[in-house]
Symmetry: C2
Amino acid sequence: MRTQRGASLTYGLLETLGQSIVIGDFDKNGFPTEAELCIRFGASRTVAREAVKMLTAKGLLSARPRQGTKVEPIAHWNLLDPDVTRWLMERQYSNKIYREFTEVRLAIEPVAAALAAQRANKAEIRAIRDGLNGMRNELHDHDAALAADIDFHVAILKASGNPFFLQLRALINTALRISIGLTNKIAGHTASIPAHEAVLVAIENGDAVGAEKAMRAILLESLELLASFQPETAH
Amino acid sequence: MRTQRGASLTYGLLETLGQSIVIGDFDKNGFPTEAELCIRFGASRTVAREAVKMLTAKGLLSARPRQGTKVEPIAHWNLLDPDVTRWLMERQYSNKIYREFTEVRLAIEPVAAALAAQRANKAEIRAIRDGLNGMRNELHDHDAALAADIDFHVAILKASGNPFFLQLRALINTALRISIGLTNKIAGHTASIPAHEAVLVAIENGDAVGAEKAMRAILLESLELLASFQPETAH
DNA sequence: TACATAAATTTGTAAGATAAAATAGCTCGT
DNA sequence: ACGAGCTATTTTATCTTACAAATTTATGTA
């Protein structure tokens, strides 16, 4: 999931701080000063500063001399940054964030499917079909089925030919993990296979409108299924 | 435009390197080593390292001992990062990137408008209307009209209630600047005002479907107008 | 009080030294 | 010639110390 990038001290602190910020650990007392960071996390100033700089680059922090380092309001966070998305997932689940994720998917994925129907080449279609077949073949293995499901959706983003759409793979990854984790307990995963197949067929036929509708149907159903079974939890 | 954050040496180098990477300056000879960076840009190692770390956080670079620092393939860049978006804009214009930007807008903004129609409160609707009125009142001043146009679209993203949509404001900002710069030379800016008004009216009436269609019409027209007048330039 | 000045706090920058990782090259035994 | 293992080299990673700059707070003086 996470890019290779070694488990260095800096990246370790980046993870720790990123998760803590997203959870809201610093909302009460404010973000620690450099010196405090070094003490509380046993880090050198170099490591502390570079981790803070990376979090600044992701919009989570801002720092100024004398004034200190502070957590930016969530409106300033780069929410589509893969790390930020993952940190959001790793904190306690909430229906709100799941709904927001799905609204984004509901905007992007149908359009991506429509573009894929117009542009996908054979290799890209094969990748999409491989994802679908993976879902079919792994009915008992939840993890494998989830991976195949993700592959299916990411393959469509790729086939859209628009690199910006592909930026949402981390978000889709996250949303699907949440979704599968819950829907598995309800109706199982197999129900959505025909819906996925409809998307593939439309793309194969170059049917942009059909692909768009079929993809929208998948997401709407997922959203409704979840809303009906899961009580809204505060967060 | 750019967040306040001082014109420190680190941020200056971040800008310089970010632009250079996006332009492709390091594609031939590879990215400089830390020591070379310090020499070529007159920076201390501290500054060089922190700038590189921020670019790493945005997905543009990766660094490993002995192997050096290298530019990641564009598929790895955080394209929706506001800085990256801006750097993409600041390099030479190309129809390709404009089309890609508009495809993203075509996915997000109609859905945002539909959600706004369902959820917008009075203050949010007023912000949208202020944008429209700004467009009306600044027919002669291109810069002011552009700012008002941006305000209109961003106000709708806000009114959608989904913070993830708002992440695209930098991209919309960029796309509109490109668009206006070109369409002004053609048909002027005023032609789109009725189309914008249609979006506002639909949102005021709580007409989600109408808002979605009206917004899609704006973007499609902008895309077609541009495609018909601007030859495809390589990049 | 008002204004200027000094002090204190926190991040920003610089520089030097050492550690760690990863590659390249070399030695040696077979 | 060949491969295992050791050595050297390159480059980033980390640590430390020192000083500069920015900004707020405190102080002192007219």
